[in-house]
């Protein structure tokens, strides 16, 4: 019974679900190539160097995040996340990585990345939408906001580097970040391009849609189908194809236009409200924070993509009163909808 629930509600911050010889091993190799002491590197990760050689050691997101924190501290250079990101995709992560190398175009690559993110990007969950002009990818933490800047830098670098390698073209990406401009901005320029916006509401990248469906040189439209079936099998062997927070986000997202509360959410996940609360707390978040996050992202989507006005957005998000909506919006974003949407 316990395992069924765990399977349904997604991998959690302490679920052993990341193959140690995938992304974590790449980081270890990077650190060792810079003469970092392996004992210090693995401090408080509860892992040994040998664990990374075996094909069946699984580690938890929490252990992986500790490893990231250690590497970042020991390497003490501001290009670590970018060097790491460059090596992440397509990667050598089984069938899913192989599929990425056979894709026909950029759209298919991003779709595979989203579908198999539990394997390809276990710490940051990519999601997409598009309007007439642009295709957007935005990232939310799969399990924890710890080391957010590092994981965002490496995830975005990974996508941009992979796309430029597979397409053999220089694509004009725009990246926006929900944090301040860092003082090592040069690393962003060289690795992500110069079209950068800081202090935004989310971590999001966009590319003009004209690049999306161009056929790539290594496309293998026939053989990719078999590879995708293999990838599905690969995903099924994992504890889960989505994280617990992914599932919460997706559930709230598809029910955002009706009243929601903790009890309803808990019922849907087959948990008691108390254990739901405890689980959210374990991920350093709460029901209110999660619903605010989805509402914020939805409001921005409705405004920018669907071009709804404030009144309509408030109605869609179940606010009867504009004053309430304004106040809530201010809490999510730190600014009023009139100011943010006037930009």
């Amino acid at each position: 019974m316990k395992s069924r629930i765990a399977k349904n509600s997604g991998y959690e911050i302490d679920t052993a679900c990341i193959a140690a010889h995938y992304q974590p091993a790449i980081l270890i190799e990077l650190a060792l190539s810079r003469d970092i002491d392996s004992r210090q590197l693995l401090r408080s990760t509860r892992m040994r160097l040998e664990d990374f050689e075996s094909a069946d050691t699984l580690i938890s997101p929490d252990q992986y995040l500790t490893l990231i924190a250690n590497s970042n501290k020991l390497l003490d250079a501001n290009d670590t996340s970018f060097l790491y990101g460059q090596r992440l995709l397509p990667g050598f992560f089984g069938a899913a990585s192989q599929a990425l190398q056979q894709v026909t175009n950029c759209r298919q690559a991003i779709e595979i990345l989203c579908e198999f993110h539990a394997i390809l990007s276990p710490l940051q969950t990519p999601r997409t939408y598009e309007d007439d002009e642009f295709y957007f990818i935005y990232w939310e933490a799969s399990c924890s906001n710890k080391e957010q800047r590092f994981t965002i830098e490496s995830s975005m670098t990974a996508v941009i580097s992979m796309v430029s390698w597979l397409s053999k073209e220089k694509i004009p990406w725009q990246c926006e970040f929900n944090y301040d401009k860092p003082d090592y901005i040069e690393q962003y320029w060289v690795n992500l391009g110069q079209d950068l916006v800081f202090n935004q509401q989310m971590n999001r990248m966009r590319l003009p849609k004209s690049w999306l469906d161009k056929t790539w040189p290594n496309a293998a439209p026939l053989s990719i189908n078999g590879t995708l079936i293999d990838s599905q099998k690969q995903l099924k062997q994992r504890p889960s194809n989505k994280s617990f927070l992914d599932n919460i986000y997706d559930y709230i997202h598809s029910n955002i236009n009706q009243p929601l509360n903790l009890d309803k959410l808990s019922l849907e996940f087959g948990l008691s409200p108390a254990s739901m609360k405890r689980k959210l707390k374990k991920h350093n978040t709460s029901f209110q924070q999660q619903i605010d996050l989805v509402r914020k992202n939805t409001a921005i989507y409705l405004y920018q993509i669907e071009h709804l006005n404030n009144q309509k957005i408030a109605e869609y998000l179940c606010f009867n009163d504009m004053n309430n909506f304004r106040r809530a919006f201010k809490r999510w974003t730190g600014t009023s909808p009139y100011i943010l949407f006037a930009q």
Partner: protein, 304 residues
């Protein structure tokens, strides 16, 4: 940089032996003081001097390559540590004042040690001058190791910004033009993916040396990030800078790397951009330069 193995234990053994024999001599001819006769303030002060001098010795031996200068400095420090530890011993053991030579044990090593240390520091000074001559084009005015790149022996972006600020001030005062060149390797990402990051790192190191060879003594090269270098040219107008940039581009194009594994030929090309300082500050100048480079690279892709 590889950490050096902690091999110079000979100094520590020598020190240990001399301190132990010092203790033996004191024990033999002196009387141990009772605890209430010990001045603990003196013990603390003299003890911490010994500990600090030991710390200097360890740092010295761990950071410097073996050689004459290191040897002299280490001997000098050993002498100081010995003499200070005898001083410390004096606090616990009372020597009869009839003995003259026990005073030597305390006082004689210090001048000898200081002579060694002074000779060592003099040669160190000569050595620094020799090394600085090699560091021309990589550093100017001031040295700050924290800004140095971990992989490639030139300054990073932070060092460039500091230097640029100084140079901008100078150029305003002297009414001289100041130019910047950015050099970015084309498709370096693909090289890293095809041959591995170790080869990529090695290529960057070699390219950096190559660029250094083509610069004047007054120019400064820094690694901005990844495979992008920036050269700071004092007293240089746009026409001269364009010429230098073209030369650097040619140099990179003429260079062929052979991979360590498999001995494969790798040829490289680079994109360059130049900008001349107007009324801007160092940040906006670097940003403008990079924007220009991005545009140049974009056009390159379209025409290819």
């Amino acid at each position: 940089m590889k950490k050096r193995a902690f091999l110079d234990t000979a100094y520590f053994y020598g020190l240990l032996v001399s301190v132990i024999s010092g203790i033996a001599i004191y024990r033999n001819w002196g009387d141990i003081k009772t605890l209430d006769h010990v001045n603990w303030l003196d013990v603390m002060a003299e003890g911490s001097m010994v500990v600090l001098a030991l710390f200097w010795l360890i740092l010295l031996l761990r950071s410097r390559p073996a050689g004459r200068v290191t040897h002299l400095l280490a001997l000098g420090l050993c002498g100081i540590i010995f003499s200070w530890s005898m001083d410390l011993l004096d606090e616990f053991i009372h020597m009869p004042s009839t003995l003259i030579w026990h005073n030597w044990l305390e006082s004689l090593p210090i001048p000898i040690a200081l002579i060694f240390l002074s000779i060592g520091i003099y040669h160190w000074h000569r050595e620094e001058i020799a090394i600085s001559a090699q560091m021309v084009k990589r550093e100017r005015y001031f040295r700050e190791h924290r800004f140095f790149d971990k992989l490639i022996p030139v300054g990073g972006a932070a060092y460039l910004k500091k230097q640029l600020k100084l140079s901008l001030n100078d150029s305003k005062k002297q009414q001289q033009p100041l130019s910047l060149i950015a050099i970015d390797l084309d498709n370096f990402n693909a090289i890293n993916r095809r041959y591995g990051v170790q080869e990529g790192d090695h290529i960057l190191q070699l390219i950096c040396q190559l660029l250094l060879l083509n610069l004047r003594d007054d120019d400064l090269i820094c690694r901005l990030a990844g495979d992008r270098f920036v050269v700071l040219l004092n007293n240089t107008n746009e026409a001269e800078a364009t010429e230098i940039a073209a030369d650097l581009q040619l140099t990179v194009a003429g260079f062929t790397y052979r991979t360590k594994q498999g001995n494969k030929r790798v040829s490289l090309t680079a994109s360059v951009a130049i900008t001349v300082a107007n009324a801007d500050n160092s940040d906006s100048l670097i940003e403008r330069l990079n924007l220009k480079l991005t545009q140049i690279k974009q056009q390159l892709k379209h025409s290819a």
